[in-house]
Symmetry: C2
Subunit: 152 residues, 2 copies
């Protein structure tokens, strides 16, 4: 008895996020605010042709904007974003770390004004150095482990 | 430019969990205690041949035991479990709701002895009625929303 379960059809319309760091696909979903109510395929620790592992995320009937795509870079800087229409890649771009992130992340400083039940949206700015480091606009605290600071 | 991203290769060795209730694949992973360090594919809200939607989970190089498979029934009673060896289905069984669940779930009663930092493993028993209802062995409280009671 042969099985045919995992023949995943090619996506006809949507977004394929490729070259996600291994095991980071779930963080990508969280940073994009996508929940399980969409049609999607998630490949985790998939064997890459170049050797090594990667995650791949296929989102059906979703066309990510460049701004949304850049959010992917928060958790997986090398990811590539492919917009598929009519079964073909019509746009392709690399995720680029956004300079400013509003909402989405939560400051780790409990005393930060963004954590005081005030009507204030969190805001982080990309630091000037190469370290891909985000700093709270309000209290200037760095984010150490970004995946842990994604707002629920 | 045609894309070839989502040709998921057939699984050679592992477990395919099919007919998972739509959007419940993540809960299945949690109940099995599987994290993102494994090679797996997750199809969420996949279009079923019979119409309707379902989730599918492909776990590479994992052979679920019957006991583990039954845990799947906690969150998705109709799921089928297929064990694949050498690219073929060598065993197939339906998830059956376990009569007793030790660990895995947490009682919602904060005063329950299983929540008192005592060296006690939580335990729930399947109720006698048809309602697929689990009751705490210690304090007899019912579990209302099982997915919310999966231990982190």
């Amino acid at each position: 008895m042969s099985h045919k379960y995992m023949k995943v059809e090619r996506i006809d319309h949507g977004t394929v996020i490729d070259h996600i760091l291994p095991s980071k696909a779930f963080d990508v979903l969280r940073v994009l605010g996508l929940s399980g109510d969409r049609t999607m395929s998630i490949l985790v620790n998939s064997h890459s042709k170049k050797g090594g592992k990667k995650d791949i995320l296929k989102l059906e009937d979703v066309e990510l904007t460049a701004e949304e795509a850049n959010l992917v870079a928060l958790v997986s800087p090398q990811a590539t974003i492919n917009i598929i229409v009519g079964g073909k890649v019509v746009r392709k771009f690399n995720a680029e770390a956004p300079r400013v992130v509003r909402g989405i992340l939560t400051c780790s400083n409990p005393n930060c004004i963004s954590n005081q039940n005030e009507p204030i949206t969190s805001e982080f700015k990309l630091g000037p150095d190469e370290g891909h480091r985000y700093v709270c606009t309000y209290c200037e605290r760095d984010i150490i482990d970004l995946a842990k600071r994604i707002s629920p």
